[in-house]
């Protein structure tokens, strides 16, 4: 036993116990005082009534008593009764006083017993009530940092405490899932960054430590280093974008998606032309949505660069945009190689690159389509893909249509 923990424990105990004991004590005392007050009023009222009745209507003046006295059995001495009238009254008053005193004593004793009994019962009942709170507090206290595996699991009847504990557990579930997702994301991201780092480090290590390295070797290592760093910077850019769009932006205004589409398509005209891809757009007149134009532009830009990349020269990429009663959509159709049916469920996943080693070499982060989905879902819509191998793919962003009422 060291002094350290022993020195810490009392203060922690005080911290843990006091709030619970405080409410338990207050409840017990309140319960006891209220019960005592009500009982004291009742007993006082009874005493008051009894004493008044006994004083106002002594039994000797009651008709039943007169009748009893006038019966033939006692009839022989009716005169003595009249004489005895004064004495009887004194006797009667004495009896009444004594009865009232007894009543007073019993009342006080009963009230005293009741006070302590109610204090004990109140303490017990308050304990029952406060116990689940103590348990919730203890679990909440034990949850350290990001270890959210503990649950209260209160059980018992579906009462208010159960509801509170279940709500708390639900919140922990959500937090746990969010933390887990974040942990996973960080793991994936660091894994993705480690590959180009390994390329960079090994190349430099090997060239720098070889006394026979020629200037061409340094030049070759430098070129590899450039490729690796440009890959890393585009990965970091996309990671930041992804992290940014993970939080739905609350500052959104009604915008016309048609102009966003037109501007983005215009931005890509040069890129399409340089690769010999024909880029066409068929956009409806007005496409009102509530959204962040910068984010939506980024989403469409990712789709366009993806489609142009997979397209052969001479083929075309068609952008269409339109709406029905409820939804607005933007579609990008290419005549590329298409996506294998086994892979189609993965295309919107983070860091999925169609398993092509060349994809990494070309500096693709594997986040482009994941960002598209994130933006669409952040706007209350969704991103979908249809594809036929050898024919091409169509990516679509669906958004809720904004109707100005």
């Amino acid at each position: 036993m060291s002094t350290g923990p022993a020195g810490v424990r009392p203060s922690r105990l005080r911290h843990i116990r006091l709030p619970a004991a405080g409410i338990r004590f207050r409840l017990a005392v309140l319960h006891s005082i209220l019960l005592f007050g009500v009982a004291a009023l009742a007993v006082g009222a009874i005493y008051q009534n009894v004493s008044r009745v006994l004083e106002d209507e002594p039994m000797s003046r009651h008709s039943a008593f007169t009748e009893l006295v006038d019966t033939p059995i006692l009839g022989s001495s009716s005169t003595t009764l009249d004489n005895a009238g004064g004495g009887l009254q004194v006797f009667e008053e004495a009896v009444n006083r004594r009865a009232l005193r007894q009543l007073r004593i019993y009342s006080v004793v009963a009230l005293a017993v009741l006070f302590f009994a109610s204090l004990a019962i109140g303490w017990y009942v308050a304990g029952l009530v406060v116990h689940p709170i103590g348990r919730i507090t203890a679990v909440a206290r034990r949850i350290q940092g990001t270890d959210l595996s503990r649950r209260i699991s209160l059980g018992g009847p579906p009462d208010e405490f159960r509801e509170l504990a279940d709500t708390f557990d639900d919140m922990l579930d959500r937090l746990d899932a969010a933390f887990e997702m974040q942990r996973h994301f960080i793991q994936e991201a660091s894994h993705e960054l480690r590959n180009p780092l390994a390329v960079l480090r090994t190349n430099l290590d090997v060239v720098m430590h070889d006394p026979r390295s020629e200037p061409e070797d340094f030049r070759a290592a430098g070129e590899v280093a450039l490729r690796a760093t440009s890959r890393m910077s585009s990965l970091v850019d996309d990671l930041l974008l992804y992290a940014h769009h993970e939080r739905p932006d609350v500052h959104r205004n009604p915008i016309d998606l048609a102009s966003v589409v037109a501007e983005t398509v215009a931005d890509f005209a040069a890129a399409a032309e340089s690769t010999g891809v024909e880029l066409r757009a068929e956009v409806a007149e007005r496409l009102p949505v509530i959204g962040d134009p910068v984010a939506l532009r980024r989403g469409l830009a990712n789709l366009l660069s993806n489609s142009i990349r997979v397209s052969d020269p001479e083929s075309s990429v068609l952008v269409t945009a339109g709406h029905d009663d409820e939804k607005v959509w933007i579609s990008v159709r290419d005549e590329g190689p298409g996506i294998d049916p086994d892979d189609i469920d993965h295309v919107f996943q983070r860091f999925w690159r169609g398993d092509l080693p060349s994809a990494r070499e070309h500096g693709r982060s594997g986040l482009g389509l994941a960002i598209v989905r994130q933006i669409a879902e952040g706007h209350g819509g969704q991103a979908t893909v249809r594809s036929t191998v050898g024919v091409g793919s169509t990516f679509t962003i669906w958004l809720p249509r904004y109707v100005d009422r």
Binding site: R201, D205, P357, R360
Partner: protein, 230 residues
């Protein structure tokens, strides 16, 4: 010692191959699991540096298959290279039969030390220094000494001497030398083995070890158990 380097990052594979060749290893490369298994199916590699995450057949699967189908009865030592470093990843890698595990990015010196350590396990030695008779070979520092005189060897000669010294007294065939000291780029129809053995003998001869490597006619070469002249 012949090594196969497998990784889907071509830039990494090339740098590793270059660095390991400089250390005197014979190095082949592969950029995916299929290519790795194909090469390992006809070459008895002493060691395979294997990336865990690759498109197609991944490192774990390659590792299992290498263990299951040894070439000429030799299971290569497997050094797993990976960017994943959770405990679960390490366990699954080691369970699949990897002998060691190195997390990217790693220092090339550390890789070299681990490769030497894994190859020593086969030779049943515990240090980085080989000694046979008067010959003294420090594989970590690339330093060869015969009877107190330092030898100036090229990486290939060094690798050849190391191979002989790991099998002192045994007859080593030309084919075995081609498999373990030369890589896939060596042309088996040239006299490369004979020429290199010749230059190594000559260098050993300058310090009095000219009878260290004897020719066993029709079978190959043998490093005399006495090693140098000493």
């Amino acid at each position: 010692m012949r090594i196969l380097v497998v990784d889907d990052e071509i830039d990494l594979v090339e740098a590793l191959a270059r660095g390991l060749r400089r250390e005197g290893y014979a190095v082949d490369t592969a950029t995916d699991g299929d290519e790795a298994l194909e090469k390992a199916s006809f070459t008895p590699y002493d060691l395979v540096c294997l990336d865990l995450t690759m498109p197609g057949i991944d490192g774990l699967e390659v590792c299992k298959r290498l263990r299951a189908n040894p070439v000429e009865g030799v299971v290569p030592r497997i050094l797993m290279l990976t960017a994943r470093d959770t405990v679960g990843d390490r366990i699954s890698g080691l369970d699949a039969g990897a002998d060691d595990y190195l997390v990217k990015p790693f220092s090339f010196d550390e890789l070299g030390a681990r490769i030497r350590s894994l190859l020593r396990r086969d030779a049943g030695r515990s240090g980085a220094v080989l000694e046979v008779g008067g010959l003294h070979l420090d594989t970590a520092r690339h330093h060869a000494v015969c009877d107190g005189a330092t030898l100036d060897l090229t990486p290939k000669e060094f690798a050849l001497l190391r191979y002989f010294m790991s099998r002192p007294g045994e007859v080593v065939s030309q084919e075995e030398l081609l498999d373990h000291v030369w890589d896939e780029h060596a042309d088996p129809f040239t006299q490369t083995v004979r020429v290199t053995v010749g230059t190594l003998r000559r260098k050993l001869g300058t310090v009095g070890g000219d009878d260290a490597i004897e020719t066993v006619i029709g079978r190959g070469y043998r490093l005399g158990a006495r090693g140098g002249a000493g």
